[in-house]
């Protein structure tokens, strides 16, 4: 049998028991581990020490009402979620279309969105996207009612793994795809320059909303 001499040895048994236990272990449980009968101060020292050992890890030792247990830190949840096979919830069609319109046509007003979608846009849709931190208001159009102009945020780029809006699937390319599908017959040869121009997204795409925010390119007035 494994012999325990130093405090380290006891701590190792403690750690092993806590890592293997499916339920929190009370101090009474933990005391069953060893023949020796430590006083509560010693136990406290052992457990505090162990807690400190795990201070910089993805797992931490916590004390709950029913005892001690190791548990994952919340910051690591996002990684653990990736291992789950369950499908993540999805946004409604209205939310996705609105997001796509804002992403590709920003800055746009609610009216613009409604015009493209052909239906009224519920305030909830915009609230959902604002709540997620993916869109925000970058200004107001100089038009009757001064409607708010929406654009996508840096968080939207981060969450979709984009460095800039320039990395969105290019518009011109998408439209060429539509053309290829829609009017298969009359192939109009495009002048290379124009096609290239249209296909090349702006170099600092994400600079546009920012610029509008700064008032540089904001509504003329």
């Amino acid at each position: 049998m494994l012999q325990l001499y130093k405090p380290e040895d006891y701590k190792r048994v403690l750690e092993t028991a806590l890592l293997a236990a499916p339920e929190p272990l009370s101090l009474a449980d933990l005391k069953k581990l060893f023949d020796e009968d430590f006083d509560d101060d010693t136990w406290r020292t052992l457990l505090d020490d162990l807690k400190r050992d795990w201070a910089d890890r993805g797992v931490e030792l916590v004390q709950l009402a029913s005892g001690w247990r190791f548990q994952t830190r919340p910051e690591y949840q996002v990684f653990l979620d990736r291992l789950k096979n369950e499908r993540p919830p999805r946004y409604s069609r209205a939310v996705m279309e609105t997001l796509a319109i804002i992403a590709y046509r920003q800055p746009v007003t609610r009216g613009d969105i409604e015009e493209i979608r052909g239906v009224a846009v519920s305030p909830n849709v915009l609230k959902t996207l604002e709540g997620r931190g993916w869109i925000d208001i970058v200004g107001h159009r100089d038009a009757p009612g001064r409607p708010a102009l929406y654009a996508t945020t840096r968080k939207f780029l981060d969450d979709l793994g984009l460095r800039s809006l320039a990395e969105l699937p290019p518009l011109a390319e998408i439209e060429r795809m539509i053309d290829a599908h829609a009017n298969e017959a009359p192939e109009i040869p495009a002048t290379p320059d124009i096609a290239d121009d249209a296909a090349t997204p702006p170099a600092q795409g994400d600079a546009i909303p920012a610029a509008a925010e700064d008032g540089l390119f904001g509504p003329a007035g």
């Binding site: 236990a21 653990l80 993540p88 919830p89 997001l99 052909g118 159009r141 979709l160 009017n183 702006p202």
Partner: protein, 280 residues
């Protein structure tokens, strides 16, 4: 090769003495280690997994060569064991009786002269099948013991199971670039279908497109050059894009718009010259 099984030296003589006869055949030697108190017989029986296990025990205990089993004493010992069970009114497993019949059959065949050698070599030993089965069983018996010795989860070790501290916040929907593109593609396709007849009816003219461009620029300040194309191309495809280009050139020539570019290859921005006068 002696036909008697060696018996452990430490064995004490049984208290009971009678002439051992099995099915009328006298035994050459008493199989001493088989004299078991009747109440211990059941325990003894439980210790074996079947006739093969019992036979292996008898063979290993006597320390004889498994490839040259002395059939007479082995059969005698086995039958004595079966007889003891019968005397104790223990129920006998069919498997034990089947093995008894097999042993007796082999033993009787051993007494017959061996048939002539076949072309391949020696004639088949009547014990061959029994030996094959005993060796296969012994292999499995050892393998089972080895398997049992392997560390087994929950018996010899545990899985580490750290509690996953799930956040209470509900999981936000995930959106991929692909989703976004697919939605946009569908929107554009829908828009095209809607506008198809209009585009066919109306002739694309440069002047009309100039109005579209101006309207597009209205109240927007600087607009990306590309966005102007995107706006018109969505309506009339490649032909529309060419018309838009001409319209923009014409607007610039008429000083209605301002086209700026900070440096070569930098984005080109377009802006209305006089927003106020163009406001509807």
């Amino acid at each position: 090769m002696t036909e008697t099984l060696k018996v452990g030296a430490g064995d004490t003589a049984p208290a009971e003495t009678h002439v051992p006869k099995l099915y009328g055949e006298p035994l050459p030697e008493l199989p001493r280690d088989l004299y078991i108190p009747p109440d211990a017989l059941e325990v003894f029986l439980d210790a074996f997994e079947g006739p093969l296990d019992l036979l292996l025990y008898l063979i290993r205990k006597a320390n004889v060569n498994i490839l040259d089993i002395p059939m007479a004493p082995l059969t005698a010992q086995y039958l004595e064991y079966v007889e003891a069970m019968r005397r104790s009114n223990l129920e006998l497993a069919a498997d034990y009786l089947l093995m008894a019949a097999m042993l007796l059959e082999i033993k009787s065949r051993m007494l017959l002269p061996r048939p002539a050698k076949t072309e391949e070599g020696e004639a088949e030993d009547p014990r061959a099948e029994l030996v094959r089965r005993l060796m296969e069983y012994e292999r499995i018996k050892l393998a089972a013991a080895r398997l049992d010795a392997l560390p087994q989860v929950h018996r010899d070790y545990e899985w580490a199971t750290v509690w996953v501290a799930e956040k209470v916040a509900e999981r936000a929907p995930e959106v991929s670039l692909h989703d976004l593109q697919a939605v946009w593609l569908a929107l554009m396709r829908k828009a095209r279908v809607k506008q198809h007849h209009r585009v066919q009816r109306e002739e694309l003219s440069v002047r009309e497109t100039m109005g579209v461009v101006l309207r597009h620029l209205q109240g927007r300040g600087y607009v990306m050059f590309e966005d102007l194309f995107a706006a018109t191309a969505a309506q009339a495809g490649m032909a529309g894009m060419i018309v838009s280009f001409l319209a923009i050139l014409e607007l610039a020539r008429e000083s209605l718009i301002e086209i700026t570019q900070s440096e070569a290859l930098a984005p080109i921005y377009v802006k209305c010259r006089d927003v106020a006068t163009l406001q509807a």
